[in-house]
Symmetry: C2
């Protein structure tokens, strides 16, 4: 009979697969009950493996991309090329994972907790390391916020609003057109605070 029992790693993976589908369809409105149904497991298994819907959502999105891998080549770039390398890395990554990342952004809009997690995530894992690496001064927080304003807006305009010509442009076009802004926020002179 043991052949009919699924092992823990299979159950965990089936929950993750189901959650990815449900979150992609319905964002954070997707319920653990729907996810459990789709995975064919008892809802208690979700609590067992992931603690809560929030924990499950984090696991689903964390699986997609390790920001350290995305950022690594940027940190090795010359300062003068940093913005271009950052934009190429981000846009290529987003393009490859657009549905889940769009869901993540959409969901972050709806929940203060998720918005806070998203801010922390972007800051600590993506924008923060790049700003600390290339900032010519100690105004790291201002540069990070400005960088975030352009990068999140790019994501929003390209993937959620689907605003042309930005929505269909290739990554190099985006790097060419938005690069000077990002480079300015990263290494350029800033006005007095």
């Amino acid at each position: 009979m043991s052949g009919r029992r699924r092992g823990p790693s299979t159950t965990r993976q089936e929950i993750l697969d189901a959650a990815r589908e449900v979150f992609a369809d319905r964002g954070v409105d997707g319920t653990t009950r729907e996810i459990a149904q789709r995975a064919g497991v008892d809802p208690a298994m979700i609590a067992h493996y992931f603690g809560s819907k929030g924990g499950l959502f984090e696991a689903v999105t964390a699986l997609q991309v390790d920001p350290a891998d995305v950022i690594a080549p940027v940190l090795d770039a010359d300062a003068a090329d940093a913005a271009r390398e950052l934009l190429l890395a981000l846009v290529r990554t987003w393009d490859a994972h657009a549905p889940v990342l769009t869901t993540l952004v959409r969901s972050a809009m709806r929940s203060k907790t998720l918005a806070g997690q998203m801010r922390t995530f972007i800051l600590e894992r993506a924008v923060g390391p790049v700003v600390r690496r290339f900032s010519p001064d100690d105004r790291v927080e201002t540069r990070a916020a400005l960088l975030a304003s352009q990068i999140t807006g790019l994501m929003l305009t390209r993937y959620v609003l689907r605003w042309e010509p930005l929505a269909s442009a290739d990554p190099a076009w985006v790097a060419d057109h938005v690069g000077p802004t990002v480079q300015g926020y990263l290494t350029g002179p800033l006005p007095e605070d």
Copy 2:
């Protein structure tokens, strides 16, 4: 007995007031049934006055601000000051109407229809007129998309992600720090497409 009947303009206004509260609480998840209950009217009255929840949502948000009023002083500015005037006008308006505008942005994230309406609204009523007024060439669509990428990201970072120091900065700080980017997208040289 006619004193007990509410006239059409009162009913319409009561529906709008109720809808503003429900949408502020729950975004587009708020149902017409909840809105009708809160307004103390039959749900058929919502269909009668606004056609649908989408129509009601438009009426609620349209009531807040007339973009033509916001944009008017920008269109009168010198080209060299256009970005600064645009940012001051937008940030002051957003600050004064932050809850409803945040709800609008959040909701636009969740629905392709609303995202399309938001894109059309921003383009036709705010970004479009400014770009057409100040663009030194015929690359109006590219300039509008780039402008949208910075402006929507500013809104997102300041009001939804609440990212400091951008979230608490006064409008002049925002105009100082983001102005050069917006000015570049509006009137600066662009790379070849």
